[in-house]
């Protein structure tokens, strides 16, 4: 069954119709999604505690209280941090433990995704998708909260693809590289990442900005799940099963199961 999962437009799979329950997300994708979700949330919240220890961001090789920060992050309140009261050492233990799960999880996801062809099939952009007219249409659809139906709902739309590619291949790897560069022990192994990033204070700034981008992604992602139908969307990421939203053009009357889902 996993081989038949429709994570995108697999030509080998027959055309499912609206109302049908299809296998959409394969086990590796689902496993990574949830372990990564936990790791990312723990790292974001413990990261905010770490930020509270010195809420000033600098650019360049160095930066401390006597230097000029380009940005002073706010003091993050207890409900947003792990732990909820000030404790830098414990926040670091949380952060650096989950860093292993996060980094090796992403590596495993990328390797499996290349082997099972999830990445080349579902997370690559075609020239047609990138055509301005197509992009504009997708932007308009998103603005009107017009969610794809029928077969269209089974593949990632172009804005979704660009977002996922940006998160998985740019922002998350950059978080790892900048995070590693903050380690003086790692810098002794290789300091070319720091040279590339413009110094440790710059790396720390980029780390913070990327964390902000991920927080923004989570808000957008959860909002869209809630708008698109949380039951169906969350089920598809737990069991893999996804009910195809009916295509308004389809002549076939919606099934009873579908009617229940839409309630």
């Amino acid at each position: 069954m996993p081989n038949k999962a429709i994570e995108g437009n697999d030509p080998g799979v027959r055309n499912p119709i609206g109302g049908e329950l299809v296998y959409r997300h394969r086990l590796p994708t689902r496993l990574w999604h949830w372990t990564n979700a936990v790791a990312i949330i723990v790292m974001l919240m413990s990261g905010l505690m770490i930020s509270n220890a010195h809420p000033h961001l600098y650019w360049g090789e160095y930066g401390s209280n006597v230097d000029h920060p380009w940005f002073n992050p706010p003091h993050f309140p207890g409900w947003a941090t792990i732990p909820s009261t000030y404790n830098l050492s414990l926040a670091r233990h949380w952060h650096l433990f989950f860093a292993w799960i996060f980094a090796f999880g992403l590596l495993a996801y990328m390797l499996v995704g290349l082997i099972n062809r999830h990445i080349p099939r579902d997370l690559t952009l075609s020239r047609a998708e990138l055509a301005p007219a197509h992009l504009w249409q997708d932007i308009k659809d998103h603005a009107r909260l017009k969610f794809p139906t029928g077969q269209e709902a089974l593949r990632f739309n172009v804005l979704q693809k660009i977002t996922y590619i940006g998160v998985v291949f740019v922002v998350l790897p950059l978080l790892i590289v900048t995070g590693l560069s903050l380690s003086p022990g790692f810098d002794a192994v290789m300091h070319w990442p720091l040279d590339l990033l413009g110094g440790r204070s710059s790396a720390r700034s980029i780390h913070f900005v990327c964390a902000g981008l991920i927080a923004g992604f989570i808000v957008l992602h959860v909002t869209l799940v809630l708008l698109a139908g949380p039951y169906n969307e969350i089920r598809s990421m737990i069991t893999g099963k996804f009910r195809v939203p009916p295509d308004p053009d389809e002549t076939r009357p919606p099934s009873r199961a579908l009617a229940e889902d839409m309630s």
Binding site: N65, L88, L96, F97
Partner: protein, 254 residues
């Protein structure tokens, strides 16, 4: 089944779940076993960095122009107590550095002896655990030269640095490093910063520089270096003041 899950219900559930998650995280953080689990991250980082690092892999060194205009002082800025005040008043004329513990020939060096030994200069970046960093030039004697004079015994695994600054809980500051870092070419007891004798706030008259680790390992006001086979008998057993007092990592390479 699906009509049991409404959008409103789901949002409420997520909010309650998030609240529960947060207090759950605090409870987990207070659990000794869970903290031990989290600390496997530190052990993993120590093992991985020792595996990837060449023993003598150097921390990056910088050009004089890349130094911080002001090197921030942190931690103790003026050690309390009469002893240190007396040393300060006499310009550290009878400050001694003792090397003992698991060594064949315990040593006692005067400050002037140390300053006549071969010195190393390096411009390196100091990274505080809080997130700030500062670059300065350090001059001092490589720790290896001092340890070789004392001939560290084969049982020794760590060196403990005993300092002259009393902390709020009454103990004097202490730190420890393994022998890989102790014999590292950049590890030194520095007596000058930016070509001037160390000011009190930066650790006068002697401070440790162990460049591949964070700031709290860079013990200031060093008086005694003790070679030990294990850290278990040293104060709380964590290997350092901040390790014992607040649970910071002993391996501060990350």
């Amino acid at each position: 089944m699906s009509n049991l899950i409404t959008r409103r219900g789901l949002v409420t559930g997520l909010a309650i779940g998030a609240g529960g998650l947060l207090s759950g995280c605090d409870k987990l953080g207070q659990n000794t076993q869970f903290r031990e689990l989290l600390k496997t991250g530190e052990h993993g980082n120590y093992a991985l960095q020792r595996l990837l690092q060449d023993r003598t892999a150097l921390a990056e060194e910088f050009a004089p122009s890349q130094r911080s205009p002001v090197f921030r002082a942190n931690g103790t800025r003026m050690p309390g107590g009469d002893d240190y005040a007396r040393h300060l008043a006499t310009g550290f004329a009878d400050w001694n550095l003792v090397i003992d513990g698991a060594v064949a020939r315990p040593q006692s060096f005067s400050l002037s002896q140390i300053k006549t030994m071969p010195a190393r200069q390096q411009i390196t970046r100091h990274d505080c655990v809080e997130g700030w960093s500062a670059i300065a030039k350090w001059t001092g004697v490589p720790l290896k030269l001092l340890l070789d004079r004392a001939s560290v015994s084969r049982q020794a695994r760590y060196v403990v640095l005993h300092c002259a600054d009393p902390q709020s809980n009454g103990t004097m500051y202490y730190e420890s490093i393994d022998l890989v870092d102790a014999y590292h070419p950049q590890t030194m007891l520095a007596w000058a910063i930016n070509d001037e004798l160390l000011p009190v706030q930066n650790g006068a008259p002697l401070r440790l520089r162990v460049e591949r680790q964070l700031g709290y390992k860079q013990a200031k006001y060093v008086q005694r270096i003790e070679a030990v086979p294990s850290l278990a008998g040293i104060y709380g057993g964590g290997g350092g003041y901040w390790e014992d007092a607040a649970g910071y990592e002993w391996y501060a390479g990350v």
